[in-house]
């Protein structure tokens, strides 16, 4: 839970920040963090999608029989 809070704080900092991209950056760090954040959202959605697909396939196979 502590980790999750930290990520949410990082997410919040991002939206209030206004620096431009011309300063020296480590382009990997921001991309890494955002990927972790997106993964939390789409990972859950993907699991539901896959679960739903299995249900659909189950019923399709049932009705085929």
């Amino acid at each position: 839970m502590y980790k999750f809070n930290k990520i949410l704080i990082a997410c919040f900092i991002m939206f209030i920040g206004t620096q431009n991209a011309f300063a020296y950056l480590d382009p990997g760090t921001g991309s890494y963090i955002i990927q972790v954040i997106i993964a939390l959202v789409v990972g859950a959605a993907f699991s539901i999608k896959m679960f739903w697909k299995r249900i659909v396939i189950f019923f399709k196979n049932t009705f085929k029989k």
């Binding site: 620096q19 431009n20 789409v42």
Partner: protein, 459 residues
Amino acid sequence: MPDNYFSEKSSFRDPSGFLFWKSGEIYRQINPIYKEHYEHLINSGLYERLTNERLLVAHEEGNDDGLRQNEAFKIIKPEVIPFISYPYEWCFSQLKDAALATLKIQKIALEYGMTLKDASAYNIQFKDGNPVLIDTLSFEKYTEGKPWIAYRQFCQHFFAPLALMAMRDIRLGQLMRIYIDGIPLDLASRLLPARSFMKFSFVSHIHMHAKAQTTLGQKDLNVKKYKVGKTSLFGIIDNLESAISKLNWKAEGTEWAEYYDDTNYTSQALEHKKTLIDEYLDLIKPKSVWDLGANTGLFSRLASIRGINTIAFDIDPSAVEKNYLECKRKRETHLLPLILDLTNPSPDAGWANEERMSLIRRGPADMVFALALIHHLAISNNLPFTHIADFLSRICRYLIIEYVPKEDSQVLRLLRTREDIFSNYKLSNFEADFSKHFLILKKDSISDSQRTLYLMEKS
């Protein structure tokens, strides 16, 4: 080091290995550092699956006597790509197909316990009409919890340009020519329209991603402690795939899109022109053809249907898009449509101006078609015949060129709004200037028109 050996200039970023040329053939050296990953690629069945699905270029492991250097683990010989093209030369659907191929490869790789360690658009090439990954060393063994290292590169090389082309302006694809490592996401974020904020994929992969780069990039964070599970990783790939699949651009409304509906050719003239080109092709039997100003590839197909590797260049992204979609529909394997502004062709670019090849460096073609083109270069672009002849002689061995006289309605149209400063635009001058670089082998009047078709050989 063996004689007659030189390394490929674009192959220096990855310590896993590099490409080199020996006696006109291309090889890839694999360094010992990559041994474990290469063996997994082969032994896991991933290589076989990807090559069977035409997603990865096949290679041979053979006799490497005389090729091996001290530090090499292995030398492989990849299949040859007939023509190397770049993302700034692709139309919208070519870039989209290349993006979807990259994501499909990543999904399959994950199933086999590997992941793409880079997602460069330059690693994708079109072979037999399909986008294929040409870098066999792009895979590494997947470590549970590790995010996709190539995620940033994928967004910059594929998602950002596609989003800009679809949602803002098709010409923004040309930003890829300036930004060799893909379009900076903060720039993409600024250029995208407000409606892009309504979609999760644009908000997350571009707008938030750009903000994260600018605000978190400088912070001293120990990012490695954050993990991404495999299901979540599949989720990201699935989300990108779904977002890109939904991006569309309709080819219409540009200058040349309706060209064939707007020519002054009678059907008799058109058929005679085709017959003459067929005769010239039969006579020369070229191995490669570049059709300059090909529009949607009507004449390019005279060459490609004979099995000749043909590139159909055109300045208009709509024409190239239509041509590519037709290639896909008909499963054509010998025709590659590409975007090219002939008055400003792709330059030598990247590190030391050597990483990405100019058009000239990728030639010469066996044969060039310059059909209904001369008046656009000479009149619209004020180019003297001698300049045109000089350039064409540097990119081909044989030339099929159509002379369009000043009396032709298409030329009159170009002159309608401007002063006629082209007193040298005459057939006699055309022949004299081209004869400085070419030998005229054939000259035929196109029936039912005022135009003349020439077959020339570089002298």
